[in-house]
């Protein structure tokens, strides 16, 4: 194995957030008082578990034997030849049990609750259904009662996942308020949590929400980046060196922060997040919080301060993306902060480009990506031609596309 290059960080990224859960001007705890004691307890329990050898050993045992970690990196030979530029590697979170990276965090939090908290019930929200399925799976495996809130629009576009959750013994509650998508599902999950906080843990699925969630979810997802460093440095299965750029899609941003975070100190590695460009930035029908200054501004949504798509009066804007998992008005606070530091950069891919990404990866590599992950693939079309043949790109493929076949069939029609 090659020797790891010495990191030369400008900032001690691992030291963030601060004690109050702030990443510079972002993050924090913006929740009703009823929840404040629960957040304090969660923070205490999570900090203890971080250095609890027994807990970490059980978690890594389950990640190996139940989730199937480590997920491999795959050299995308035909895709590399197609672009004729940098070598492209893919981190295969689609091969994790339940088909996406979401299980890393769901299992981590469920185990934390089971082992360290006097609670017996889990509530969660889901957009694409991947976090819902992952949570339902962890709950079934650990024997925990589980309720998942899901917007009825998302239930329609992710029907197989609704059935999966029910099959796993989870109660799926449809949410009819607002845009009937992820944001509204989070509102109702929080309302359930406020009401049942004494017995219930809220298993938030992305690097969002009040402190300690953004940091805790990041830590549970950082297994992706830690494995990727080791795998990239391996000269047999990998290129034997670190990548020059990493690309990941960003909704709330948990798969992206999971792969980015362990690489932050390697300043030579470009970290690129791809938001949902929807039907294009001009019309406002998208979820590209960083790309549209008319809509995406500093604000507070669902417990955290970050970039939030909103109107002039501070009402949260309706977002659009072909992928339910990226269809959200805000973005994890650490992403906003890392962007300010110039450490990460963000771009977007439209619905149309994402669909092309689905086709491209399916035909070139025999991998059908989730619509979310297809946004990262779509960005290769722009990125690869800018890079040299001696360079290396690593794409985080956050999930597989089986759940999206209905949408993809509708959009692409007869092939």
């Amino acid at each position: 194995m090659a020797v790891s290059p010495a990191p030369q960080p400008k900032l001690n990224y691992a030291a963030w957030p601060d004690e109050a859960g702030h990443f510079g001007p972002y993050g924090g705890k913006f929740v009703p008082e009823t929840l404040m004691p629960a957040l304090d307890e969660l923070e205490e329990v999570y900090l203890k578990a971080k250095s609890d050898k027994e807990f970490q050993a059980e978690l890594s045992f389950l990640l190996r034997t139940f989730v199937g970690r480590p997920t491999p990196i795959t050299y995308a030979r035909r895709l590399t030849e197609h672009f004729g530029g940098p070598r492209i590697y893919i981190k295969r979170e689609d091969l994790a049990h339940t088909g996406a990276h979401k299980i890393n965090n769901a299992l981590g939090q469920a185990l934390l609750m089971k082992r360290k908290m006097a609670k017996t019930r889990i509530v969660a929200e889901t957009g694409a259904g991947q976090h819902g399925v992952a949570t339902a799976t962890a709950a079934a495996m650990l024997g925990i009662e589980c309720v998942v809130y899901m917007g009825t629009v998302d239930m329609a576009r992710q029907e197989p996942n609704v059935y999966r959750m029910r099959l796993l013994g989870t109660e799926v509650r449809g949410v009819e308020s607002g845009s009937k998508t992820l944001k509204d599902a989070i509102n109702d999950a929080i309302r359930d949590w406020v009401t049942n906080v004494r017995t219930t843990h809220y298993l938030l699925g992305s690097a969002l929400g009040p402190h300690p969630y953004p940091a805790m979810v990041r830590d549970f997802q950082s297994v992706i980046g830690r494995e990727a460093i080791r795998q990239m440095l391996d000269p047999v299965d990998g290129p034997g060196r670190l990548p020059d750029a990493i690309v990941a899609c960003v909704g709330g941003g948990s798969n992206a922060i999971g792969i980015f975070h362990p690489f932050l100190e390697y300043e030579s590695v470009r970290l690129i997040g791809v938001e949902a460009g929807g039907r294009g930035i001009e019309g406002g029908e998208h979820a590209a919080r960083f790309a549209d200054p008319k809509l995406g501004r500093l604000g507070v949504l669902q417990g955290t301060k970050s970039y939030v798509m909103q109107d002039a009066d501070g009402q949260i804007a309706l977002t659009h993306s072909i992928s339910a998992g990226l269809d959200y008005a805000s973005v994890g606070p650490e992403h906003a902060w890392l962007r300010d530091q110039g450490r990460t950069e963000y771009t977007y891919a439209t619905d149309e480009a994402a669909l092309e990404g689905v086709k491209l990866l399916s035909r070139m590599e025999g991998i059908i990506p989730a619509l979310e992950s297809a946004h990262a693939i779509a960005h290769l079309v722009e990125l690869a031609p800018q890079m040299g043949k001696d360079e290396v790109i690593l794409v985080n493929l956050s999930g597989r596309g089986d759940k999206d076949l209905g949408t993809i069939m509708k959009e692409l029609g007869n092939l």
């Binding site: 308020s177 009066d313 501070g314």
Partner: protein, 267 residues
């Protein structure tokens, strides 16, 4: 007189008369603008002594279905933060003297601009602020602006609040403290929680501020029961429900009278 002083005066008068204060919540712009003004005037005539001026937000995560629907309706009818302030100015111009406490979530206020909001709120006759998703930890800027302008900062305490948090939060409150009666969201309930008296007693150990209880109070009997153990009785969802549909104003007037009588009957 500052907003804090006007609120203090209301509670001082009630204490002298050995009764509690009836404090209705109104979702501004619901059922519509004209009805909002009429409801507040009517409740003022039937014994309301302090109003919660509900500024609508698209994502009211502490609210139950009744207030969610009302504030969503107000928003779809185009109600803005500026409209809500214009309505309170109108009520002041028409001679209403009861204190107004604006109740909204942080993002509409933050988007309006904290300094600008506080200045415009004072100019519009607002006396205090209640922001359920803004704990004191995140409220430094708003609190400083309110202190300078004489606006009351009213935070919430919940049955889950620890002794340490009660002390901490109470230390940041002016005017009164808002006690959430139940572990849950807003909405009328058929019974008061059994541990309410114990919760109030727990808070009382740490503060001399008046305690107002809200969430889940829907009729005269419940209002009377709360008025025996707290200085203020807050009613929201039940009044919003009464205002919904044909004949809403008459129902609000009747329920308002029942609630006010309940509050004043106590002790």
């Amino acid at each position: 007189m500052t907003g804090v002083e006007r609120i203090q005066a209301v509670f001082a008068r009630a204490r002298a008369e050995q009764r509690a204060v009836f404090m209705p919540y109104q979702a501004m712009g619901y059922p519509d603008r004209a009805a909002t003004l009429e409801i507040i005037r009517t409740l003022g005539d039937t014994g309301a002594e302090l109003f919660e001026i509900g500024i609508p937000h698209s994502d009211p995560l502490a609210d139950g279905p009744t207030i969610q629907t009302a504030t969503y309706t107000a928003l779809t009818q185009g109600t803005t933060v500026a409209d809500c302030l214009a309505m309170t100015r109108e009520l002041r111009a028409a001679g209403m003297t009861q204190p107004f406490c604006a109740m909204t979530y942080y993002n509409p206020l933050f988007a309006y601009g904290v300094q600008r909001f506080v200045a415009d709120a004072v100019a519009s006759g607002i006396d205090g602020l209640i922001v359920p998703d803004l704990p004191p930890e995140e409220s430094e800027e708003l609190e400083a602006a309110c202190r300078a302008a004489g606006l009351a900062t009213i935070y919430l305490l919940a049955p889950t609040s620890t002794e340490a948090r009660i002390r901490f939060v109470a230390g940041h409150c002016t005017g009164f403290i808002y006690l959430v009666s139940v572990t849950g969201i807003t909405g009328a309930r058929t019974e008061l929680p059994p541990d309410l008296a114990a919760f109030i007693a727990r808070v009382r150990k740490h503060t001399d501020l008046p305690l107002a209880v809200g969430f889940g109070i829907g009729d005269g009997a419940q209002a009377a029961a709360v008025a025996q153990i707290a200085e203020g009785v807050i009613v929201g969802s039940a009044l919003v429900k009464a205002a919904t549909g044909e004949g809403g104003l008459a129902r609000v007037a009747a329920l308002g009278a029942e609630l006010a009588a309940g509050v004043k009957r106590a002790r």
